[in-house]
Amino acid sequence: MNNGRSFKAQKVIDRMGQKLTRQMVGSLTACVHCGMCTDSCHYVLANPGDPTYAPAYKADKIRKLFKHHYDWTGKVFPKWVKAGSVYTDEELEELKDTVFGKCTNCRRCTVNCPMGVDLATFNRMARGLLCHVGIMPEGVEYVAKEQWEIGNQMGVLKEDYIETIEWQEEELQEEMGDPDAKIPIDKKDAHIVYSINPREVKHDPRSILDAAKIFYAAKEDYTMPSEGWDMTNFGLFNGDDDLGGAVASRVYDKVDELNGKKLVISECGHGYRSTRCEGPNWGKRDIAFEAESSVITMLRYIKEGKIKVDKSKNPGAYTFHDSCNNARSCGLTEEPRELLSLVVEEFREMYPNRAENFCCTGGGGAMSMSEYKPERLKSAKIKADQLTATGTHTVVTSCHNCVDGLNDLIGHYKIDMEVTQLVHLVANALVM
């Protein structure tokens, strides 16, 4: 016990000192409590009477610790700057319910903050502090463990992965009527190394087959790696930079080993952000190859005439949902729209959109936290209204997690809409 503080509480305080970056300190000191963030958060909009959802309120839970322990203002006039500490494990559990259960780290408040306060960045840091002392939702803990120990977030063994790819190769040969059609594994010097989300292997390989069809049609020189193929990263969700760096490095190392020219990341928002944008920082390394989203790859194939598509094969009106990680954190907003317009009969915009779009409400690892599901679905009302207003039959998104988040709320609010990804629409529109 330190100053009457529990072992874990003291650890959290100590660790905070090691984790504060200049950007975080800037964010923790810049808030002027103007309230712009309040109007931008889907949790607040769906729970107007509950101040505990307000981004500034959530931020204060973390800010008070910073002020008390690491900022001179908290030492000189602690009451004025609302400095405070944590003492018990129960308080840490409460903090867990805020940083995991009341924020999806979607960064909509961030892009709307006139002071540039990046709540999601220090909310993620707070998650990391709690994980450091073993306090996190059970689902997040389980998945992070699988990613540490087995090398992918769903514990898929190497032989099962390879057998699944071989099975999809057989399907490709059958559908293309070409016994020589291949999904190469561990091919050296390939132009593209294609990385995926484990759910594609474990639960729904249709996206692997559709991507293979597109690569086949484009006569691409590509390969899938036998290891380091999981481009998802729970380090982004649990705030553990070490996990983030280890997972991203596995992917990078394999591309290096195969001497691949380019790493292509299948449609996954957090995977794209982690592998393309954050991974080198977490892993404290550089990467010598280009990394791109498969959305950009597919668009290039059409523009360069490598594949031909017929948009009448996808009839009716489709709308597009921007994944938070893709749009707000990586600026991937125009390419998916351009691609979608090329492969469907009618593309109808959803409002607000791009960096202002609302989260699917399952972001930040929320789909792995069953304990917060009722609150999550209640807050999804905002997204449900946004979807319904488009009057389309299908919502398209470039993120596996958004697919599940959207499907969940569509079921809950009984909306007559389907969810799909660009890879399926492009494959379906292919003219061979």
Binding site: D204, S368, S370, P374
Partner: protein, 111 residues
């Protein structure tokens, strides 16, 4: 913890509706869960549920879709041993929907 009431018994389920104790499962419960989703379980649905139960009893883990399709193909032929067929039967996906009806735990990770 949430509960699911069926024929006078209260079953513990997680917030996603998955049974906490897979051994409490019975066929009526699967039917009740499906009914809530507006789905009537037919012979074809039961083939999948029964396989999932048997597999889980043996290995204490839900099968990958590769294994599920392979085994269904062996038992019931090619037209039933493929991904498309499984998604037609269970639109929310065999992992999320069929596993829940079969009393298996919620799949982990980004699903």
């Amino acid at each position: 913890m949430a509960t699911l009431d069926f024929e006078g018994t209260s079953y513990e389920v997680d917030e996603d509706g998955y049974l906490i104790d897979w051994q409490q499962w019975n066929e009526g419960l699967a039917g009740a869960m499906a009914k809530e989703d507006g789905l009537e379980l037919g012979e074809a649905h039961w083939e999948v549920i029964k396989f999932l139960r048997d597999y889980f009893e043996k290995y204490q883990i839900a099968p990958m879709i590769k294994i599920l399709t392979k085994e269904l193909k062996k038992k019931y032929g090619k037209e039933k041993g493929n991904t498309k067929y499984l998604y037609e039967l269970y639109p929310a996906g065999p992992a999320k929907q069929a596993c829940r009806y079969a009393g298996l735990p919620k799949p982990t990770g980004c699903v």
